[in-house]
């Protein structure tokens, strides 16, 4: 029996496994008749997933946690059992800001900490001269881009909520806003950083890959109540996506992938920009290799520590139990097993951002360890809320 499904996507390169699963017939082979809905905003993805207009969606990994933790206007838990890919984000600055950073002695290709230090000096100059703070854009309050940008800024001694203006701009608008001088930099998924470089509007300053290799990014999110009723369909969806993600990862397939994604009903960006981000020297995206699709609970825990750090959560929570509820590693293993694919036996691993280790067993400590933060939960209360043990 064919099941009809509606899946939401956004115009970003990492919708690739979903696009390929449709175009190459992987969904059809699993008995799924999938309709894609290209959504112009993350808010739409959230609302439509919560209300059942969409059955599944290309989502920012933090959105599943935000929905489940009741910090969104829509209090409808979302879960994921599938990471659509890893990495792919970059911090891009305008040509004007790049020139100022070069004046500070920054060389092209400098490591992220040197870039951060140069930016901190520029910001300090501006503050001393009484100039308005520089403006940086991300895509959504609950996004890896936001947490990555904030983490990098804070490591350079910059207080994000004081020293810069952070705002939200839809990804396809980023390059134009940079060109117009409405923003001075942005943190966004590819191909938009590559496109800014192609147009001469700015330069990719930091590839997030250099801060956190194989960082979490997008996931396939589903509504928790929908999942309870559609377990088998969900597993079929995962099998189709696993096959597609495998294809997306092969270097020889990347040119065809760039061509496919450039279409107006997917990313709607020049093929050359997509090729730059998919097959260029920076190789921003990992779609499958090295268990890239596995929903590591340590990813979810790290995200929750940053929600705490920046004051998005105001109540203590059990980090490991939350991750287990939202990141369904068990369901991934079932689907992978049916395809004869191996899956990690552990649910979590240690992670590292900007050289700072994150050990899941000490997540609460990590969340409250940052000098630059906007914590609204007391360290001892958070520590006391950690019940789930190894």
């Amino acid at each position: 029996m064919t099941r009809e499904l509606s899946i939401g996507i956004t115009p970003l390169a990492d919708c690739a496994p979903i696009a390929v699963a449709l175009e190459h017939g992987h969904f059809a082979r699993e008995g799924l008749a999938v309709t894609l809905s290209r959504e112009p905003s993350w808010a739409n993805i959230r609302d439509k997933l919560a209300t059942g207009v969409l059955d599944a969606a290309h989502m920012l990994a933090p959105m599943t946690l935000a929905a489940s933790l009741g910090i969104e206007p829509v209090a409808e838990p979302a879960v994921t059992a599938f990471a659509l890919g890893l990495g792919g984000n970059a911090i891009t600055v305008s040509s004007r800001l790049w020139a100022r950073l070069a004046d500070e002695g920054l060389a092209a290709g400098a490591p992220p900490d040197a870039c951060g230090a140069a930016l901190a000096r520029v910001l300090a100059d501006d503050r001393a001269a009484g100039r308005a703070p520089l403006r940086f854009a991300t895509v959504f309050p609950f996004s890896m881009h936001g947490y990555e940008l904030r983490f990098w800024l804070a490591q350079a001694g910059v207080t994000p909520d004081r020293d810069v203006r952070l705002q939200v701009v839809p990804p396809p608008r980023m390059v134009a806003e940079l060109e117009a001088g409405a923003i001075d930099g942005f943190a966004v998924g590819e191909p938009w950083g590559s496109l800014a470089e192609m147009r001469g509007a700015g330069s990719v300053l930091v590839a997030v890959e250099d801060l956190w290799s194989r960082a979490p990014e997008k996931v396939l999110g589903v509504n928790a109540r929908w999942l309870a009723r559609n377990h088998a369909t969900h597993k079929a969806l995962l099998r189709a996506l696993l096959a597609a993600a495998h294809w997306c990862d092969e270097p020889e397939n990347r040119p065809e992938l760039a061509r496919l994604l450039s279409a107006s009903h997917y990313v709607d960006a020049p093929e050359s920009a997509l090729l730059g981000s998919l097959a260029g020297p920076k190789r921003f995206h990992t779609f499958h290799a090295g268990d890239a699709n596995f929903p590591w609970r340590s990813h979810a825990m790290w995200i929750a520590t940053q929600m705490l750090r920046w004051g998005q959560l105001e109540k203590p929570l059990d980090l490991r139990a939350t991750a287990a509820r939202v990141y369904r590693a068990d369901l991934y293993r079932e689907a992978a097993g049916e395809l004869g694919l191996r899956a990690p036996s552990a649910d979590e691993k240690s992670e590292s951002f900007g050289g700072v280790r994150f050990e899941p067993a000490r997540a609460a400590e990590y969340a409250t360890s940052f000098a630059i933060a906007k914590l609204r939960v007391a360290a001892d209360e958070l520590a006391a809320a950690q019940h789930a043990r190894d």
Binding site: K48, A50, V74
Partner: protein, 186 residues
């Protein structure tokens, strides 16, 4: 203020709003400087198309920066209208209406504004209740620390805190916070 990507429909909506007695101060698309125009024009209500890419930016302004103390009416002009409307009735999303044509405009906008004001009032009430509770907790903690350190009774510890606050012309909770910070150092 209208935020819409389809010029033909915007014209129709502008007319409907004008007929209902509203003045449309601006009609913007995703290509305009939304933040700047909102700050400059301070509209009483913002009406946004669900299909506008500006939704994320509007939500961000409203929730994170609290720069947007304005009601936002979202309109849905597509086939999912039914389920989205059902969701709104269930309290899922703020304000969604279908069509926004002719006579239905005025009540919809009025209801949106009224609901928004209710929400704002509720929120500030919650905010102040939460602060009081958090303050009280801090003062309790500081009191306990002083009692243990000086081996004095609760009432004396409280009086000490109060006197210190009055002498320094500072709020009780600020002094309590300092006591806690100092004790963590020692």
């Amino acid at each position: 203020m209208l935020v819409d990507e389809k010029p033909a429909r915007s014209k129709e909506l502008e007319q409907a709003l004008a007929d209902a007695g509203y003045e449309v101060v601006a009609t913007l698309s995703g290509r305009d400087d939304l933040r700047g125009r909102i700050a400059a024009l301070t509209p009483d209500v913002i009406i946004v198309d669900m299909q506008s890419p500006s939704r994320d930016a509007l939500e961000d302004m409203r929730r994170i920066h609290e720069e947007l103390p304005r009601p936002v009416v979202m309109f849905v002009d597509e086939t999912d209208a039914d389920s989205i409307r059902a969701a709104v009735r269930a309290g899922v999303s703020a304000y969604v209406v279908d069509g926004l044509k002719g006579r239905s405009v005025r009540p919809v906008v009025e209801v949106a504004i009224a609901r928004f004001q209710e929400f704002q009032a509720l929120r500030s009430e919650l905010e102040s209740a939460r602060t009081t509770l958090a303050d009280r907790k801090l003062i309790e903690r500081a009191k306990g620390l002083i009692m243990r350190r000086r081996r004095i009774a609760e009432e004396d510890a409280y009086q000490l805190l109060r006197k210190s606050a009055m002498d320094q012309k500072r709020k009780l909770v600020d002094v309590a916070r300092e006591v806690i910070a100092m004790s963590e150092l020692l």
